[in-house]
Amino acid sequence: MTTAEAGPARRTGVPGFVTAHGWRVVVGLALVFLMLYPVVSDDLYYQNMIILSLLLAIMGSGWNIISGFTGYVSLGQSAFLGIGAYTTALFAVKVFEGASPFWFIPISAVVAGIFAAVVGSVLTRTRGHAFVILTIAFLFVMQIVTLNWSDLTNGNHGLSLPLPLWNIDYQNWPFYYSLLGLMLLSVAMSWWIRRTKLGMGLIAIREDESKAASVGVNTSVYKVLSFVASAIFIGAAGGLYAYYLTFIDPRGMFDIVVSVQVVLAVLLGGRGTILGPVLGAFILEPLNEITNNEFSGGNERLIFFGGLLALVVLFLPRGVIPSVAELWARWRGAGKAALVGARIERPVAVREADAEPEPAHGTGRSLLEVRDVSRRFGGLRALDGCALEVEEGTITALIGPNGSGKTTLFNIIDGTMSADSGEIRFDGAPIDGLPPWERAHRGIGRTFQITRLFREMTVLENVVAPLRSFSWRQLAADAVSGAEAQRAQELLDFVGMRAFAEQRAAALSFGQQKLVELAQILMLDPRLIMLDEPAGGINPTLVDHIVEMIRELNRQGKTFLIVEHNMPMVLGLCDPVLVLARGSCICRGTPAEIQRDERVLDAYLGEHYVADQQAGVS
């Protein structure tokens, strides 16, 4: 796929399948085949195989939202199959006896969604290993509860549903077409989510969750929504599956091996892609049938699935679709070569004439107040009663030796980390209790010492990703709207990175990433911009370029708090300068005052140096 092609997948940056014309034809033909198959052929064996493939495809599509988009790997997704199955079965057997189970499929979807909302809001507070373990625990808890609550569920003995009553000539058509419809709906939902703000936020969470929160993405809501979205169609499919089987029991319905099959199908097809889960399901399920026929028991299936999963994890971690797409692109020689040699343009908005820029003047109002903040890591006091103030309109520097607590302070101000004690006030109001995204919405923008861009997104997407507010309606808005793209282009122009807009962020050099990260937080239109070592690790020309930009932004009314070790830059640019040592702010003054202050020399160089100087030794 070339970046020049049009279509939603290009804008959202997924190496997609759907965009290429040839693939559209293939997908269309496959769909026609699926629509017509039961009419053309009355072979029940293959009908059953397709039905099970559709089921797996629906589950895979669901799993792909929480695990492919959001990056939270769940091994408990088959719990929603069981929840859906038991919901439909209980309604059909205990509540409205004699009614067709088809009526209860929507209820299954809703119940699965409610479970996902409740469980998800708790589970998504953890990450990584903890989340995977919790999803496994959730699945087994559901199984045990279903087994033991036999008054309701009949426990071990399972539940029998009414047998289908329709004319035998129609075979399994109602199941077949309902599942086909559900699959199309769930794929459509994935596609739609992927092109909205919600989808973009989910990818941002996958790439770097703390960063996403710090640029205004309400990660809690996003994660819960993606968990719910990943569960509802699985719930509905569970209802259909229960009716199709006409008998369900806890071990079969809350089966971790089913979860593993789902994971395997999506990994096989391509995690994070729209059609990968479907492709994977239609590869895996026939294989499953073949092993069922070739071998007698479940042991061979375990070996087969386990072995295949291990092979896919080891050798094909990205899945078939992304791998093929990459090969295809390479074969065609498509895809822009990285713009390694392109020049970073001079910022357009900066006036060149200012040889002697006048120092920034504060308004006298305090924008940020840090009061007596402490934070310990085990026995280490990173911050110890730190108190400081940033005046509105200034370019304030925060300097101090390594390990003095500067980055920890940044993390506490932007909410990535919480303080053990003390208070942070922004614009007169305390912000301690606020999550990072709320702080971003209030006007705090922050860059990182080691840049943290969303690596798999393009530069343009990175700049568009920040959100200045949260609203439910916004979630459904287009990921990149015209006005935002316009604004992002302007910001990229400002930092001189417009030529790189379509590049993947990971392909940029460190200095280029710093510029993009600056443009990214400018998208928040922050009142306070906190830069963590903007000049660290980049060449002197670029440092000048950054200094010019900071001055220009300051003229436009932005307040800066800058952590920096490049002293000539700090002393020429900033006023006042705050000095942090051993976790507290030891002094504040103009650059000239700071240069003379003995406490500062002491903090940086140790008392001997000061003493030696006084004695004239040096």
Partner: protein, 293 residues
């Protein structure tokens, strides 16, 4: 009261065995950040080997630990070389998926070799007990616990007193620093994994006497072990001991006072409560999360 103390005694004895099994899992996690989900299946494998040795050759199942421990060490080393070492640096979930896959393969292989029915090693002393006042100490539990504590002590000595032990602890604290001072981190990781799996040798032999088992029992074991190390603090050996004793007692109490049916729920309940309320567990240090690499 008698009933309570008796449940406590049984819980602590079984907890000692759990401690040995959980130590391997937590050791592997601490050093290489891998949750070895196959640990449960390896326990069952060791139990089957023990059972076969007892049935076919007549070796006492508890003495079988002398054979299964080195055997499992070798198996662990092979597994590491063939699979785990290729995924270092990949996301956390990758190791869970990979070791889960291994667990499934092992389950299938054991089902083929030994069938999917319940097995149990039942040497003569399995139904006998020592009595002390109104309390009884089942011999199998007591011997099993003693062996487990012995192996655990040996493991602890090895970790604290030998060069390899220091290297392992260094790698678990900070891989790059360990490399800088000349520790071959990859070799240490392989040995740690093998060592962690070796604990399933003795542990599986003991387990084969204490519980009936079939290939599918590994789910129960791995959830129990996960519950323990989550409770104790992932990666902490003393934590694994505390967690194991707590979980052992919690299980016997549930069996005594509620119902055996709900005892299987205990590990999951523990996992959920601990991970959500105090994710670092009892012994886990509160580590900073913003470390920039």
């Amino acid at each position: 009261m008698t009933q309570f103390v008796q449940a406590l005694i049984l819980g602590l004895m079984i907890g000692g065995v759990y401690a040995l099994l959980a130590s391997g899992l937590t050791l592997i996690f601490g050093v290489m950040d891998v949750i070895n989900v196959a640990q449960g299946a390896l326990i069952i494998l060791s139990a089957f080997i023990t059972w076969a040795l007892w049935k076919e050759v007549g070796i006492d199942p508890l003495l079988g630990a002398l054979i299964t421990t080195p055997a499992m060490f070798v198996i662990g080393w092979v597994i590491y070389r063939l699979t785990i070492q290729w995924i270092s640096g990949r996301p956390a979930s990758t190791s869970v998926l990979l070791t889960f896959a291994l667990a499934l393969v092992l389950e299938g292989i054991m089902g083929l070799v030994w069938s999917t029915t319940y097995h149990s090693s039942t040497p003569g002393y399995v139904d006998e007990s020592f009595r002390a006042g109104s309390f009884y100490f089942p011999k199998a539990q007591l011997f099993g616990c003693a062996i487990a504590v012995g192996v655990l002590a040996a493991l602890y000595m090895m970790l604290t007193r030998t060069w390899l032990g220091r290297a392992i602890r260094a790698v678990s604290e900070n891989v790059s620093s360990a490399r800088l001072v000349g520790v071959n981190a990859r070799k240490v990781a392989a040995l740690t994994f093998a060592l962690g799996v070796a604990t399933t040798g003795a542990g599986g032999s003991i387990a084969s006497v204490l519980y009936p088992f079939l290939p599918g029992s590994h789910y129960q074991w791995i959830s129990r072990l996960l519950g323990i190390i989550v409770l104790g603090g992932m990666g902490s050996l003393p934590g694994a001991l505390v967690g194991a004793l707590t979980l052992g007692v919690a299980e016997t109490m549930t069996v005594t006072y509620i119902s055996p049916r709900w005892a299987t729920m205990v590990p999951y309940a523990v996992i959920m409560v601990v991970l959500l309320a105090r994710p670092q567990g009892i012994m886990g240090a509160k580590l900073r999360e913003d470390v920039v690499v």
